[in-house]
């Protein structure tokens, strides 16, 4: 009886060893299921598509259509010789559909700037690529679009969007806010251009002179080249599209009107552009000064005392303008 129990014991040991071996050499489930890597791969590719749309495509599309919209609006202002009434609305319309006040801006300007460059076009191209190449159905809805500035040298475009992506294996719905930065140092400044009847055409370029380094020579160069400096008392880039001359604390920029470029260059005004065109000193000649030390071409140029200080010209010789 005792010996028979030993046999049972040994059988159990053998069975345990077999069971242990089976557990140890059990293959990985991910390898066992032949379909799994393919499904996993498809989901990963679709997930990568969603990330690419959010991080690269939408941002680039905003920057591209925003840049084109600014070029188109400047062209429009150039052609119509008028300012915009509401930059945010008109910019968004041009950027999104290529229309301004209900008409195609390219037709009005006779220039192909927005053709195939609107945001709507970019969204439909994405939809086609998604369907044809990635075999996914995607829909990108822009729910909000706005333009603003937080620094003098860049325009920001913000879009609130919802992305729907549907594949055979999974679906995504992602709400996103994407901000694109459009540097303004490439655009013509519409403010002096429209106000001067196209006599002054400045491409916005930041002056490289540091505030403490201004002197007569660097000031003359700044004026001749039509470069810009930051000035919180001046209007920003967006305000310049609407002929606004009030101050922008964060983002104001100014240039100095170059007198030889004007047909009538002996105005009783400070020649800082926003003061010049808002006629700020029209009835205040007593506060204007002629810089006698300037190159003869600039002899008609007048500045208010604030700008004499700003450009560090207090050491130069000047006289009352009247």
């Amino acid at each position: 009886m005792t010996l028979a129990k030993k046999g049972v014991f040994l059988t159990f040991i053998a069975l345990s060893l077999v069971a242990a071996m089976l557990v140890l050499i059990k293959p990985n489930n991910s390898v066992q299921d032949n379909n799994f890597p393919v499904v996993q791969n498809r989901i990963m590719q679709a997930n990568s598509f969603v990330t690419d749309v959010e991080n690269v495509y939408l941002k680039n599309a905003l920057e591209s259509s925003g840049t084109k919209a600014v070029f188109a609006l400047i062209e429009y202002m150039n052609d119509t010789d008028s300012f915009l009434t509401n930059f945010d609305r008109q910019f968004v319309d041009v950027m999104r559909n290529g229309t301004i006040n209900g008409s195609y801006i390219d037709t009005l300007t006779n220039a192909e700037i927005m053709k195939d460059n609107t945001l709507e076009h970019a969204l439909s191209v994405l939809q086609n690529v998604s369907q044809d190449d990635f075999t996914t159905n995607s829909l990108l809805n822009i729910t909000g679009l706005s333009a603003y500035q937080q620094d003098p040298w860049n325009l920001k475009v913000r879009a609130n969007a919802t992305l729907f992506v549907q594949t055979e294996s999974a679906s995504w719905q992602r709400n996103m806010t994407v901000i694109a930065l459009i540097p303004i140092q490439r655009f013509a400044d519409p403010y002096p251009f429209v106000n001067s009847n196209a006599q002054i055409f400045n491409i916005i370029n930041k002056s490289m002179v540091k505030s403490a380094s201004w002197n007569v020579t660097s000031f003359e160069e700044h004026m001749a080249l039509g470069t810009y400096i930051q000035n919180p008392a001046a209007p920003n880039f967006i305000m310049r599209f609407m002929n606004q001359s009030s101050s922008s604390q964060c983002c104001g920029i100014e240039s100095i009107i170059n007198p030889p470029l004007l047909s009538d260059n002996d105005e009783t005004e400070s020649y800082a552009d926003y003061l010049f065109y808002s006629r700020a000193y029209e009835n205040n000649c007593a506060q204007l000064y002629n810089m006698t030390e300037f190159y003869p071409d600039y002899s008609k140029l007048k500045l208010d005392y604030g700008h004499i200080l700003l450009y560090n010209l207090t050491g130069a010789s000047f006289e009352d303008a009247c």
């Binding site: 046999g7 059988t11 390898v31 599309a61 840049t67």
Partner: protein, 180 residues
């Protein structure tokens, strides 16, 4: 009587060992059919690696005398934005119709990255850029391969950022498989 019982003990041990051998052999035979699975996974990893390298590395970050910043292509004026990723630059070559430059660009950057026993292709917008003219052995090898897991990426960017001129969006695709 005692002797017979001891013999039964040996019998059980022998029986268990035979059973173990049979089960072990069975298991080895059964699981040897999965021997190819890791190879497919490896090729898929390579395609993800190549795509990741191209999509996440900028021109300025790559140390390559031909394709990198101030390299041969830079000096020839064929590359002018070091902030673009390698994938964006490849797509720019494609968008501008410089397919031969695209091929040599990809070839230079992937030289020695992929082991010799693997072959790979790179496509942009459903156009084969590398190799531009595949050999018959390349095509035959690809046709023999049962499963190829491609790596896809959406590629988009600027041809001229100043003017807001873009290219794409295109689908970029990398295929890697074991040479057979």
């Amino acid at each position: 009587m005692k002797k017979r019982f001891y013999r039964k003990g040996y019998f059980f041990i022998l029986d268990a060992m035979i059973a173990l051998t049979v089960v072990g052999l069975g298991a080895v035979l059964l699981f040897s059919s999965y021997a190819n699975a890791p190879i497919e996974g490896q090729a898929s990893l390579y395609s993800d690696d190549v795509m990741g390298f191209f999509a996440n590395t900028k021109i300025i970050e790559v140390n390559n005398e031909y394709a990198g910043y101030q390299g041969t292509l830079w000096q020839q004026g064929k590359i002018d934005n070091y902030g673009n990723t390698l994938l964006q630059q490849t797509a720019i070559f494609y968008a501008k119709g410089n397919l031969a430059t695209a091929e040599s660009f990809i070839g230079n950057l992937t030289y020695n990255i992929i082991p010799e026993q693997y072959l790979f292709e790179m496509w942009i917008d459903n156009t084969l850029l590398y190799p531009l003219n595949p050999t018959s052995s390349h095509i035959a090898s690809k046709n023999k391969t049962k499963v190829i897991l491609p790596s896809h990426k959406l590629v988009h960017g600027f041809i001229d950022q100043e003017k807001g001129q873009t290219f794409g969006p295109f689908m970029a695709e990398v295929l890697v498989w074991q040479n057979q």
